[in-house]
Symmetry: C2
Subunit: 119 residues, 2 copies
């Protein structure tokens, strides 16, 4: 039970779209991820997910609109809602979601990460 410094944890990795786990509670994971560029359209059949922006600007495309999130902003995406995150510049964010969540949801591609590192 140690305190966790987000900036310190973000300094431990530099690749994009590859979430790391920094904590777990009540069957949920707390993850950090750096992203840039475009991700795949996907949804999560059973898991709601929360994105909290720590640095940069993230855009999330939904089927009917685009939401832009800046530092200090968050969104909760309910299960079953298709979304495609993208970012022109590097974004640092925190994710909060059930342990069962796979980053690309119902889709499998080169970005799919089944096993995440705990840092």
């Amino acid at each position: 039970m140690e305190k966790i410094n987000l900036r310190e944890k973000f300094s431990l990795f530099n690749d994009y779209w590859n979430p790391r786990i920094i904590g777990e509670l009540n069957g949920q994971d707390v993850k950090l991820v750096k992203v840039r560029g475009e991700f795949v359209w996907h949804d999560h059949k059973n898991e709601d997910e929360l994105f909290l922006i720590i640095k940069g600007k993230l855009k999330i495309e939904f089927r009917d609109r685009i939401v832009e999130l800046s530092e200090g902003e968050m969104i909760i995406i309910p299960h079953g809602v298709e979304h495609k995150p993208f970012a022109d510049e590097e974004v640092h964010m925190m994710l909060f979601e059930p342990k069962s969540t796979i980053n690309t949801g119902e889709v499998r591609n080169e970005n799919t990460r089944d096993e995440l590192e705990f840092i």
Copy 2:
């Protein structure tokens, strides 16, 4: 499914030790709370909780030590671990915890909040 701006939400209330709910996912609540002064010693029988510091410095006393958390730092307190948060100056923080979590845990006093406002 709207984005949530933390600063904007914090501007909606000014009392201490009275968490507001700003979102829910997977049976968990996302809460914001402002604190200053001392809280009661308590634990949560079944719920782990996460504190993420958005502004200020929070101290948490455990039975064997004190942990100090600053902006951008978080801690996960497992269920059953007694703790007493306190803060010399105003602290703004975000909490993640199951919907069933009562702020004073197994203790009841004047700070107990059974019904939280959704903002």
